[in-house]
Structure formats: structure tokens, C-alpha cells
Amino acid sequence: MVETRRPASVHGRLLSYLLIPLFLLLVAGVAVDHHVIVTPIHNAFDHSLSRSALAIVARIRPGMDGIPEVALPQHPPPPLRAMSDEHFFYRVSLPDGRTIAGMPDLPLAPDSGSEDGFSYTNLTYRDNTFRLTSYRTSETGEPLVVTVAETPARRDRAVHRLDVAFLINDTVQMVLVLVIALVGIRIALRPLQRLSRQLARRPPQALTRLPTQDVPSEVLPLVESLNNLLGRVRDSVLSQQHFMANAAHQLRTPLTGLKAQLEVLARESAGGPLQERIALLHGGVDRLAHTANQLLTLARAEPSAHRSSHFALIELPKLIGEVIDSSLDRAIAHGIDLGADSHPAQVNGVYWLLHELLGNLMDNAIRHTPAGGNITVRCGVDRGHPFLEVDDSGSGIPPEERAKVRERFYRGSGSQTDGCGLGLAIVDEVARVHNARLSILDGSAGHGTRMRIDFPAIS
């Protein structure tokens, strides 16, 4: 079996079309946000670093022998204190490179020549990354270079926190946009869903136009095309029905004439030499008439030919009574005991079609039941479902043939009778018109056939 892939739903397609651009937008948004925020943060932290350098400068006193002294307390003041996971280093040096205080190996930032005297750089010192600023000043008299360096953990943490905040914020926004978009799409697609529900709820025989009011302009062309199609189907159904009515008339009238003429001829030539041949002719015309009738019935049983106005509530016991009434003489002539076992049951159906259905089942049963046999027609309600059954004590249908007998023009292997092979095809077709199911079962007597029609429950 070939596996068919369903094309993606409009929803799925819109989702996939939206999801990728939205994701790219999210990445770009976070990147832009990052760039926008990283400079002010760095500036703020650089500023605070420069305060540390100035705090050191404030503690420089001119010392003896012209070398300034730095009087730092045992515990540095807040800007100089390093947090537990941070490192803070400083160095006060002379322009010639001599270190007055702090770490003598701390490198200096190259002079950027800025007006405020601060030069910044990033570097690696003692296996750690540092942000470093060198302050070149002559405030204390002598030119000095005050260098302070800190690990950038705090600023990195700040940037990271902001990045995470932006990411969460942007993601929430995107998800909201997506949800709103999907809800919007769902609401916008409602007319389509309404249309499909309308179509699904229509009985198969309804060929009337779909209403076009309240249909949004995007869906209108679809509805109009459907209406066009329905119109064409309706026209063709009508012309087919018209054709069938004409064909019925044109076929049946001469057949009636032929049949009647042969019957008269048979009576007039009773005992004569032509009697046998007239009987043969009569048999042929009868078969022809039967086949024409069955073909016409089959054509008229097509589901498309039935408007919902043809459907009515039908009492199955009454139907059984009428069909038995019209088949009784034939059953008696065949020596068959024909009877009913009716329980109250109603179905929603087309009366003449159900009459044809039961008539054909009865016809088959009479053909295949030998003299002395019996046929019982049943109806009732089984677990909420009305059913109709014709149970005969005849030859039965072997299980392997049961599927085939429904085919048009199929005639069973054991059939010597003059059926045209359309009876069960008609039954099957009529059952389909009524959403009913035909089952071919063993006769309840242990032999023979039980033809059962299960109708849908009446709501």
C-alpha cells in the first residue's frame, strides 16, 4: 500500500513560516540588545575603576627625598576592597618605571593621551583576565602613574544577567506574538471550518446552493465554485432523471405490448404446433422486461437521485405486509410457506426504494427456495438499530460467493433460474442510499440464506 502524506494544514504551514523568521528575529534582537547595553555597563564599571585610582591618588603624600608615599590603611576603603571571588591590584609608579607602592610587576596601560589622564586596557595578569586603567597625573607635584586592575567578573556578571533578562523578555514576547498569531489565524479560519462543517452535515443527496452571506471575501470564490459545481451536478442529475423517465416509458410500453400479444397468442394457439415456440418467446420477453425493470430501478436508486424531501418515516411492519401481499401468490404457486415476524420498527427512508429492496430480497428467496420450504420476513430493533431480514430455507450461498453476489450481473454458480443478476446490486445500492448495511448470513434453520439489512439508529 502506498503511504500517502497529508499536505500540511494551513495552521502547520503558517506556524512553520512564522517560527523560523521569529527565531531569527529573536537572535538578532538579543544580539542588538547586548551591544546596546554592553558599552554603558563597561563605561560605568570603568568609571568606578577610575574612582579607585583617584582614591589612591588622594592618599599620596609628598614624602622625604622627593619620593611620594602612599598611605593606604590596613583595610582598603570600599572602592579598593575586592570581593571574595575578585582580585584587585594597584601600582603607583614613577614615569621612569620605579614602583612606589603596590604590585611592581603590574603592567601599565599604554598612554591613550586622553584629556582626563585615564588610559584603559584589557590584559592577562597572573593567569587572570583584568581590566586595567593607568592614571597619569601630576596632582601631587611629581608626575606619577597610578594603575589599578580588577578582574571583570562583576561587569561580566552584570552583562550576563542583562543578556539573560533580554533573552527571557524577547522569548516571552515572541511566544506571545506566536500565540496571538495562531489564535488570530484560528479565528480568521473559522469561516472555513464553518463551511466544512456545513458540507459535512449535508445529506449526500442535497444539491442545493450553499449560502453566500456571512462568507468572508477570501472564502467566497471557493463557495461560489462549489455552488457552480453543485449546480452542474444538479443539472446532470435532473437530466439523467429525465432521461430515465423517458427510457422507462420507451422501454416498458413496447415490452408490455409484446408480452400481452404473446399471452394472447399463446391462448389462441393453445394445443397448436406453435405453442412451444410462443412459450419460449414469452420467456425471453419476460426476461427482457425483468432486466429492463431492474436496470431502471438500479439507475434510479443512485444516491444522487434522491432529494431529502423524498425521505420519510417508514413503518417496517407495514412495508413487510405490503411486500408479502404482492409476493404471496408467487410463494403459494411455488409451494413455499411465506410468513412474517414483525416487531415495531421505523426507519427514515424512501418508500419505493425500500419496497424495491424488500421485493428483490423476497424475489431471490422465492427463486432459491424449493417447494415445501419456508421464508420468514422479520423486522425489529436490535440495540437501537432497526433491521429487516429475509430468512429462507433454500439452497444458501456459499461463504466464498457472498461478496460476489452483490456485483452487478453476477449469477451464483448454482443458479439455474432466470434472474438477471441485478437483484442484490439493487439491494446493496438502496441500502447505501439509506446508510444501511447488507449482510449475507446463514439461514436460521441451519441451511438457506438470511439476508439482513441493518439501518442506522433513528435520532
Binding site: 410500453t253 412474517a340 420468514t376
Partner: protein, 221 residues
């Protein structure tokens, strides 16, 4: 018994005429609805057989016109159309029976017989089934020897009900309704008992056939 046949197809018309003449009727055939009035003015008919698909004025409109003019002539419709709508239409307009082509001549003859019998019964208040004669006005039944059958009130009601629908199956429920008033309650078995007594009283003049699960049918001898 005289029958007017309105049928445009000469093959059919000729065969029906011959067939019915063979069954002992006098048959006048006309090919269209327009000639019917003149024929009816000329002679008395016991039955008209009307084809629905006539050229010019169609059968349905003929039926309507006849009934509007107050004619009670029994009308048997024959037609090639078998749609339920057509059937209901024809019967609603006042046709008495309906036969779909192609039919067998014996079937047509039987329908004619039944219609004529019904019309005669209504006129004479008497129904004849086989050798049995049922006098509806006198509420008595006569067998083939002309003897009045001794029937109880209920047996008579059953026979009357069956005779009104002779040739058709009458349900047990309907028979029960026919023999009981509203206050009375009677079992299906009681009907069987009455029918079997009625059967033995009818003897060979007519038969009451029991149909399993449905009811009874009164048949010729």
C-alpha cells in the same frame, strides 16, 4: 361488462383488448383522452383503463376531469412511470388502482375483476368471492348451494372484513378491531378460534388462508 381502454400504443392497446375480450369483457379502445367524453356519452362503461403517458392531454388530467365531472366510473391507471409521486398523484386524483408496465395480462384481468366487483358490491351491497355470496345489507352469507351460513356475530364481522379486502392480507389486529368494541379485549388466539370455525362453515365455497405472522386472506374456493 364493458371496458373503455385509453391507450395510444397500438401494440399494447390491441393486446389488452384481445386479452380482455378473451376474458369475456367488451372492450372499446381509444387512442387519446380527447375521445373519451364522446364515448362516455354514448355508452355505459363498468371500468376505464387509462394510460398515463397519452399524447396531448395526459392521463392524470383525464382522471382529474372525470372525477370533477362527478363520474364514479372505476379507473385503473396503467403507466410506465413507477415513481411513488406518480402513484400517489393518480390515487389522490381519484384513480382506483394503479398498474405499472410491463404487466402480465392475467394480472390486469384480475385487477379489472376486483375493481368491477368492488363497484358492483357497492351498488348491490353484495360481494361474490368464488362461489360464496356475501349480502352486506342482509348481513348474511350464502354458499355455493344458495344456503345461508349460520354465523355468529363475530364470525360474520370477520368474514365481512375479509370480504371487503378479498385477495389481500388482512392483519390480525385489524380483524380484532373489526370484532371488538373499545372496551373489549380479545387475544390473538381468540381470532384463530373464530377463523377456524368460520373456515369449517365456509366449506368449499371460499378459503380463509392464514399467513404466518401477518393475518388472513379470503380466497376463491
Amino acid at each position: 361488462m364493458r371496458i373503455l381502454l385509453v391507450e395510444d400504443d397500438s401494440l399494447v392497446s390491441d393486446a389488452i383488448s384481445r386479452g380482455l375480450v378473451g376474458s369475456g369483457y367488451v372492450v372499446d379502445a381509444v387512442p387519446d383522452a380527447e375521445s373519451v367524453a364522446a364515448r362516455l356519452a354514448d355508452s355505459h362503461y363498468d371500468l376505464a383503463i387509462v394510460d398515463l403517458g397519452l399524447p396531448g392531454e395526459d392521463g392524470l388530467s383525464l382522471v382529474r376531469k372525470l372525477r370533477r365531472s362527478g363520474s364514479s366510473l372505476p379507473l385503473l391507471i396503467v403507466t410506465a412511470r413507477d415513481g411513488l409521486d406518480d402513484r400517489i398523484n393518480a390515487l389522490d386524483l381519484g384513480a382506483d388502482d394503479y398498474l405499472v408496465k410491463p404487466f402480465a395480462l392475467p394480472e390486469l384481468a384480475a385487477r379489472c375483476r376486483a375493481l368491477i366487483r368492488r363497484a358492483t358490491a357497492a351498488a348491490a351491497n353484495e360481494i361474490a368471492i368464488g362461489k360464496l355470496r356475501i349480502d352486506l345489507a342482509g348481513r348474511r352469507a350464502l354458499n355455493e348451494k344458495g344456503e345461508v351460513l349460520e354465523l355468529t356475530r363475530r364470525e360474520w364481522s370477520i368474514l365481512e372484513c375479509l370480504a371487503h379486502h378479498s385477495g389481500r392480507v388482512v392483519s390480525k389486529e385489524r380483524l380484532t378491531q373489526a370484532i371488538t368494541g373499545w372496551s373489549e379485549d380479545i387475544s390473538g388466539n381468540a381470532i384463530e378460534v373464530h377463523v377456524s370455525r368460520l373456515r369449517s362453515k365456509l366449506g368449499s365455497s371460499a378459503t380463509v388462508r392464514g399467513i404466518r405472522g401477518l393475518g388472513y386472506r379470503l380466497e376463491d374456493g
